[in-house]
């Protein structure tokens, strides 16, 4: 019999580890922020698996909602140019 919580935990932590790696390897700032938000939201999901609903929701309000966008603002607004070059087209 498959344990549903174990499956959910494995999927969530796989996404979390993968996106945590992407945070430090992605080249563009907005990509980093997106992957950071992904990491933080999946951590919220793992809190849910621990039956800690309150801390999961606080995690999403504070970390997923506010922190990445604040990072982005801080870095973008302190740069000399906001968009330094157009992205290359694939």
């Amino acid at each position: 019999m498959v344990d549903g919580e174990l499956v959910a935990f494995v999927i969530l932590s796989a996404i979390e580890v993968a996106s945590a790696i992407m945070v430090v390897t992605a080249k563009k700032l907005v990509h980093n922020v997106f992957w950071l938000a992904m990491t933080l939201i999946t951590i919220g999901g793992i809190y849910l698996l621990f039956r800690a609903e309150l801390i999961a929701l606080i995690q999403i309000i504070v970390y997923a909602g506010a922190v990445p966008v604040l990072f982005l603002f801080g870095i973008m607004l302190t740069r000399r140019k906001i968009m330094e070059e157009p992205h290359e087209s694939e």
């Binding site: 997106f34 938000a37 999403i60 506010a66």
Partner: protein, 444 residues
């Protein structure tokens, strides 16, 4: 104290078990044929039939049906209606009639149903005298037909991810918003009453994800208008979320709960505040001298969260084309643009639950409705059920949004941030102080 009409889980459970029973009929027939041709006594398919019509699958299908009902109720029904309300309302404010396409404008309906003597009357009306409701449907169909264009220099992956983030976070709002004591998706029943201990927090968490999607949408389009619009939108949404959270903290300090059902139950009683008892006034928190400041602040922040007109500088048409939604086309545009209305709808529902008594309303008369969860039982339902009162409040609040939006000029971005940080945050801290005093002294 009024009752509710829709018992969501009861109805969806009944529907799910009926559908699964229908699905299991052919297998019952096969089983019977197998028995006639000499199979062993229970039949080869009994296990499968038991699984198909069993409680596990029924519960799963009932949950899927309930989610579908709630999301369709919010998007396909209320979204069209509030778009219609907005367009008719601002047209009347501008002393014109606005959209008028009605059933009589559809040639096929006009020539067929319109010929029927009495029943066809609404289909016979000339097209300039319609109600205009079909215009919103026509706009939706038009958006579905349009091509989805991805700008050549856009970050394609992010460009198509952002509408998903925005749509998902907006639909998450409606998971936690209850429409009545029986029409809710998230919660459980304790002592015969629905409870959802963290419902308000869930709604706020869903509100807080949108700025990320908007910022990504604005950046990924690779267009300076969308980038400026996205930055403005994120700055505005982030800074207005703080007074909104603080004011809801004030309310939570006063009421002592984050449960939307409990908040509405507390507000259905007659007004009472410590020694003061007023029998003709409901105990809505907007009437509370310690909380009306929080109501005003939450009202303003909800308008800003939905990017409605006094605070719609992120999409200021005169300077930024269409703001952060400029480069989207087709149904992508429909999602990012239409879901702003859905956030306004959810904000109106939140205001109604927090301050305006939720779905409480007078009962005039009742009629009997069969109870889907328990066969053979009936329960009384008022002719104006809770869903009616809640929807009425949401629409009235939305009309006030439209009224404010089309009466005042747009606020500049620096003025927006000034209002947010220098006016609303101190006011919300003041309301926390008042609520804590009221709670700590003797009233609550």
């Amino acid at each position: 104290m009024s009752g509710h009409l829709i018992d969501l889980y009861g109805w969806s459970g009944a529907l799910a078990s009926f559908v699964l029973w229908l699905l299991s009929l052919p297998f019952e027939l096969l089983n019977w044929i197998a028995l006639q041709t000499g199979a062993q006594k229970p039949g080869p398919l009994v296990g499968f039939i038991d699984w198909l019509a069993g409680p596990d699958l029924t519960a799963l299908v009932a949950l899927i049906v309930a989610i579908t009902i709630v999301l369709l109720w919010a998007t396909a029904f209320h979204l069209l209606i509030i778009m219609w309300i907005e367009r008719k309302m601002y047209s009347r404010l501008q002393d014109r009639r606005g959209i008028m396409i009605g059933l009589g404008s559809v040639e096929i309906l006009r020539n067929t149903i319109g010929r029927i003597p009495i029943l066809g009357a609404p289909f016979r009306r000339p097209s300039h005298l319609g109600t205009g409701f079909l215009q919103t449907v026509a706009d939706g169909v038009k958006l579905f037909q349009k091509e989805v264009i991805t700008p050549e220099k856009a970050d394609k992956w992010m460009f198509h991810t952002a509408p998903v983030i925005i749509a998902a976070s907006t639909l998450l709002l409606f998971v936690a918003i209850p429409w009545s004591d029986g029409f809710w998706l998230m919660g459980s029943i304790e002592n015969g009453r629905p409870v959802n201990p963290l419902g308000i927090l869930f709604i706020l968490a869903a509100f807080s994800i949108a700025p990320l999607g908007i910022l990504i949408a604005g950046w990924a389009s690779n267009n300076k208008y969308t980038l400026i619009g996205g930055m403005r939108a994120a700055a505005q949404l982030m800074s207005y979320e703080i007074p909104m959270l603080l004011c809801i903290i004030a309310l939570v300090v006063f009421a002592g709960t984050l449960d939307p059902f409990e908040l509405v139950r507390k507000q259905t009683a007659p007004f009472s505040l410590g020694p003061v008892q007023i029998s003709f006034l409901p105990n809505w928190y907007v009437f509370n001298p310690f909380l009306w400041i929080a109501f005003v602040v939450v009202f303003v922040t909800v308008i800003a969260e939905a990017e409605r007109i006094p605070f719609d500088i992120p999409e200021a048409e005169a300077e930024l084309v269409e703001g952060w939604t400029t480069e989207y086309s087709g149904m992508r545009f429909g999602i990012v643009f239409g879901f702003k209305w859905l956030r306004a709808l959810a904000g109106a529902a939140l205001i109604s639950i927090l301050f305006l008594g939720g779905w409480s309303g007078p009962v005039f008369a009742t009629f009997m409705v069969p109870n889907m969860a328990a066969a053979g039982q009936m329960y009384p339902v008022p002719i104006l059920p809770q869903e009616f009162w809640f929807t009425l409040r949401i629409y009235l609040i939305f009309v006030v949004f439209v009224w404010i939006g089309w009466s005042v000029p747009r606020v500049r971005i620096d003025q927006i941030l000034n209002i947010g940080w220098k006016r609303l945050v101190p006011l919300s801290l003041l309301s926390i102080l008042l609520a804590a005093l009221a709670r700590g002294a003797w009233w609550s």
